[in-house]
Symmetry: C2
Subunit: 341 residues, 2 copies
């Protein structure tokens, strides 16, 4: 090019948009690797990018947007709970898999349950992350619940009613319906004195599963007074099962709000000489590795934890790319029947 | 102070520099805990700071030094290995406990084994963290091995010889001596045909434990040809044990380089109808929850994983504060004898 024209100027994103005949946001989505770009649009935009020899300038991009290219996964649990519950392993795996196909790194932040520290708050709001995924939030986490006002945030699981914001984005399963189906399965097997062991009362998933248990019992005209409270740990499941069999020796089934707790319930019942399922049938929730680890395979309400992690990450990436995203994504549970019922 | 002088003005960094007779940049380095300040200069600057009662303004400090007040914990393992091995739970717990008493947040970065992605590299070197702790590094991790040249880094476990730098900081146990003591215990119990199941050959801890096994056998004039290679997973332990008993049906003991693998070994031996410890005695390594989870309590070489996490964090915090720190901190192993031997 020695025809006297000035040296070529780097093409801009706007020019790509004009040549492709699409919006600036669409070009941005293509560049950021969003999976929600239709194949047709992808072809057109990539053709325009090639034609103009457009190179996204990462540095400029970072400076303009103060992008850190990192996403926080905020887990308000201690290391013991975090490592002890296979749900988190699945969710982290799913989020990691989705982020592998993006330019973002995952920045995992463990914070204290119910009270994320001041330094975590300062860190998250201090421009150190571009967005956040919050899982396993308790109702006391007012800071985490309000995080979505300052930062693009996706919740893993619905925030509790009293602190939820209408604009929240979350991925969840219908815990109430899933639990109801699990308890209806016990009723179909002829059980009539069905107890439950709940999760922590400050967690929406636990509250919903308890309601599903009540729904099924009410639907069949059965009593819902056999209840013990657990904490989503194996030791908590053992403790709660011992309380239940002492207080309600007539029970013939227990719906347990997590497989990890159910794994403890199986140990406790064995210790008391109660046979599963002959004396007491058990249904858990999660379909985690704990459901198949013990001597007795656990019937359980399966939730697609890994896929939920993928969708959490995907939803946040789409928010960051400026896309319109559904506020609520509900995923399916299914009943997996094994020996315990 | 009602003597007519104006209200005291906060002393500035420039005044500290003037009083200390050093440059502004040097004062800034001291305040930000740079490890590259000479002890003499440190004394002079700290004296000036005390004299003027200078309080660094955190916001200003962050802007000046781009301090993120976050520390990366880099784990080059996939989510499955990370969640499946209790060693990581202990180390994360220990690091978290130490950081709770500091102004730093923990930023956990899972990266692919042996090849941290380009984006992780860019992130770690891009001013997004003030320092890093690297655990479970494999010998292929040249980037992680060289990270210490660009950032204050503490390794959990000694980097392998060929990629280690003389300036590396690391926390470790004497894996070789610990393994030797474990095998000597088997010899003291009268075992003479002692096999081993190793960890991955690209990990220093695995190599050292194998050498300790050889040391003990050589010391007693016993043969060291009964060996199978594992990968620090339970399934790998099962596979390796089956190979060993097929190839060396005369073996009377196995030193297994991790409890998680040993937990698989117990399952495999039971399947083959071999009694532990009557037919085959077992010694593991770690003293993790897996050592006491099964029907048979596992004799094991205990390492203080949680305390190692605390010391890793403490060492990095001291580096960040500009302190002189020992390059190598070795912690003690101890033998815990249970039913398997």
């Amino acid at each position: 090019m020695s025809d006297g024209t000035p040296a070529p100027v780097r093409p801009t994103l706007e020019e790509v948009a004009r040549v492709a005949g699409v919006s600036r946001a669409t070009v941005s989505r293509v560049i950021n690797g969003s999976p929600r770009v239709s194949p047709d649009v992808l072809v057109v935009v990539e053709k325009a990018i090639a034609e103009l020899n457009y190179v996204p300038n990462r540095a400029a991009r970072s400076l303009a947007a103060r992008a850190t290219m990192s996403i926080a996964l905020v887990v308000p649990e201690n290391a013991h709970r975090f490592f002890g519950d296979p749900y988190f392993a699945d969710v982290v795996q799913g989020i990691s898999e989705r982020l592998d196909d993006s330019d973002y790194v995952l920045n995992l932040q463990l914070t204290h349950p119910s009270s994320p520290s001041e330094k975590t708050r300062r860190y998250l709001l201090g421009g150190n992350v571009d967005g956040a995924i919050v899982v396993s939030h308790h109702s006391g986490d007012h800071f985490l619940a309000s995080l979505g006002r300052s930062l693009p945030v996706v919740f893993g699981g619905r925030p509790l009613g009293q602190i939820a914001n209408p604009g929240d984005y979350y991925i969840d399963v219908d815990n109430r319906l899933g639990a109801r189906r699990g308890v209806e399965h016990l009723i179909a097997r002829g059980r009539t004195r069905i107890a439950t062991i709940t999760g922590p009362a400050d967690m929406p998933a636990a509250v919903d599963r308890e309601m599903g248990w009540r729904d099924a019992l009410a639907g069949a005209g059965l009593s819902d007074h056999r209840i013990a409270h657990g904490d989503f740990t194996e030791a908590g499941g053992i403790r709660a099962a011992l309380v239940l069999v002492d207080e309600h020796p007539d029970l013939d089934a227990i719906f347990v709000a997590s497989d990890l707790m159910a794994s403890g319930v199986l140990l406790a019942l064995e210790e008391r000489g109660l046979r599963v399922p002959t004396d007491v049938a058990i249904v858990g929730f999660d379909n985690s590795p704990y459901a198949t680890r013990g001597r007795i395979g656990l019937t359980t309400v399966a939730q697609p934890s890994l896929e939920m992690g993928v969708v959490m990450a995907d939803t946040l990436l789409r928010l960051l790319a400026g896309e319109q995203v559904e506020h609520v994504t509900m995923m399916e549970t299914s009943l997996v029947v094994r020996d315990s019922s």
